[in-house]
Symmetry: C2
Amino acid sequence: MKFKIAIIGTGNVAWHLAPALEEAGHTVTEIYGRSEKKAASITQKLYTADVKTDLDFTTSEAEIFILAVKDDSIMDIADEIILPEESILVHTSGSVPLSALGYSSASYTGIFYPLQSFSRDRAITFEEVPFLLESEDQATLQKLKKLAKSLSQRQYVVKSKDRKALHVAAVFASNFSNHMLRLAEEVMARQGLEFEMLKPLIIETISKSLELGAKKAQTGPAVREDLHILEEHHQFLNYNEQVAEIYRLISQDIIDSN
Amino acid sequence: MKFKIAIIGTGNVAWHLAPALEEAGHTVTEIYGRSEKKAASITQKLYTADVKTDLDFTTSEAEIFILAVKDDSIMDIADEIILPEESILVHTSGSVPLSALGYSSASYTGIFYPLQSFSRDRAITFEEVPFLLESEDQATLQKLKKLAKSLSQRQYVVKSKDRKALHVAAVFASNFSNHMLRLAEEVMARQGLEFEMLKPLIIETISKSLELGAKKAQTGPAVREDLHILEEHHQFLNYNEQVAEIYRLISQDIIDSN
């Protein structure tokens, strides 16, 4: 089943999703952006998509409208956009509930959330991106499943409430693990040591954790309850009270959950 | 330059290091273990190494003695071990200072620290393992460099003080990033969601972070200062006060260091 799809937004999700949809055989009809230039930078990569800078889609041939904009803008644009009859409006956010589309002119609404971190300069293998889908309309949900299946091997139907939990988990797994690397970078830089030294350890740690599970994979002074080392490290970090407290608190939580 | 080497210890470092030393052309003369069985499980993988259960190495042909035992045992074993003349005693720990070997009978002492997380069941590519070396004796340091070079492309001379900083950084980069995955696992399990869903995100996050640096790679509600989402997530975690506090504190630190 091939769809005609309009994309509203010119950010990193739109940037990667639009050509992937074409490659999967769908037709991207329009790219909407407040900035004509940004929208054109995406349509240039596509066959026949038009640039659009207004939200009146009455004459669009698209059936599915994908809102790939910032979380804060989803509700405003959903309220403003004028859609043809029988159209489906979805957003791509992990943290905005389906109800945010409730006041739109769409006949059907849904979520089409690719659970991945998108950057303009990094290629994305869509085949492995989990798509989290939601709709109160069964026919719409089936269409979203088919659309996701054309891009990826992984589709999950996840309700807004579960998607919120998933977003919390993603913050720990992604944003916070990245911040731990940031804090490691800072300790190394402060001491004039090359961060390169730590990269093989980081790669092995994450590989091991994903293979064995994080509990089994844990090593280090906290899980060994080596209080002497924990105290030394805490002292070492006394130049930054907040980071010292992060060290203390995570170590305590590793001990408590052992 | 090929060395004759005795290994004291039967843990994961000894398990991986002993065969790697042989593959690099060195001779492993003895494996010492308090448990004969454990020592034998390693010598079985080697050509001619003997099992040893006492610490009198007077008649050993080895020149380099590698102490690959628990941090807490290093000083005790260093004090107890009887070494031949002109021998070099090194330990493999990231957190124990060189001075811990100060009362040993060794003519020369040093550090031979492979900066990696070793597990019995996971193969190690020694070529990419950074070896952190230290000795107050220049000839010893040269020998340790040659030994490390025979195993790996990466050798660094790092003083005990810097090695301590490096260990703090490694705790953040490895143990704490692993604990963030653990907390993500728990949020998912609590909600009945498959952790599998998050794996592509984790892999992309870490790859991106190592390529761009963690500051540039950061995404999510904290770096966007989306206080509304941060408050929602904090509320969501109210079933575990300590984890909620970890969420609050790391988010604050991401905001502060932005």
